[in-house]
Point group: C2
Chain length 191, copies 2
């Protein structure tokens, strides 16, 4: 079980079906016209369900964006938890850390718009996700291994902070992805 969704009572079959319909409809609409010009009632219409149903599954646009990112997030998690090195286990912690940050930048490049919506629709949305917690604890493990003395908890947040979608988009105005990667590497390598 991936830690993205908190599993309460399992969904009923019809509900799961509707969730799929909604996500598919949303994906199509996003592909067609971007995320910004996307209203939840439009999604409902396209999916052939009532607005209430959409709101029951996805409290806001951010939650829907998260759902659209779900598959990608899943792959990312598998890659750094159990995939091949240097991202996955097997490589030295420092290399894994570096690989993690670079992969994260790559994701921001390919899915920046969705990540932005997912993170900024609600203040602090980014942090209440299981995804953030997992990324954080992964970094804590790596940092503790590299530098046992450090305040790994804070350091992990500090490394993830520049990777907030909005912050990244801003930096991207004056830097290339490679420069940002270099900057991140620099940030933790000075040990």
């Amino acid at each position: 079980m991936l830690p993205i969704a908190g599993a309460g009572t399992p969904e009923r079959a019809d509900a799961a079906r509707n969730r799929q319909k909604i996500v598919h409809a949303a994906a199509k609409l996003v592909a067609a016209k971007g995320i910004d010009g996307l209203a939840l009632d439009e999604v409902a219409a396209k999916a052939g369900v009532g607005i209430g149903t959409v709101y029951r599954r996805f409290p806001d646009k951010g939650a829907l964006a998260q759902a659209l990112l779900d598959e990608n997030e899943r792959e990312f998690q598998e890659a750094f938890i159990s995939g091949p090195p240097p991202l996955g286990p097997g490589a030295p912690a420092a290399q894994r850390l570096s690989a993690f940050l670079e992969k994260y930048v790559d994701r921001l490049e390919t899915h920046g718009e969705l990540l932005m919506v997912a993170e900024t629709e609600t203040p602090m949305a980014r942090f209440v996700t299981g995804a953030y917690r997992l990324h954080h604890s992964h970094l804590v493990a790596l940092i503790s291994e590299i530098e046992p003395e450090a305040d790994a908890h804070f350091r992990a947040d500090a490394l993830l902070a520049p990777l907030a979608a909005a912050q990244y988009a801003y930096q991207r105005q004056s830097m290339t992805p490679e420069q940002i990667k270099a900057g991140l590497r620099d940030l933790y390598q000075r040990t």
Copy 2:
């Protein structure tokens, strides 16, 4: 002239008067019931102007929150530009940097709610402010002095990133302000 507002055509006298009325009304409402339960039409009613007028001055709640923070921001800017050391000129750059970060944390403690609204109402709102630019260029100057080789531009953003209101609020759930200050100090001192 402080760099907070981009000065286009100067405001007409009546418009400036209304801006004052709006800001005062907003300040009262915020004091009475917090920022969250505050609708712009309420502010308009309290200020005795039309909704359209409020929107002309302040495109959204974030802009209004910024206006409420204006005086505090002004004082902060004066303190690190021309105030007494260690925040202002006269102290070694490393000490000034440390003082800046600590002062920033203090502001987050006292004005966190308003800063949150100001920064998160619109994605990237934080970065388009003159305030952010000024903080950034101040840090760039200090960092370049401490460590001429570094990519001061990126480093400055990376130091400001954990000070985003939402990020800070999140970290505050598990750390004291002092721990955060220590973490920040740690972050740049490893030179």
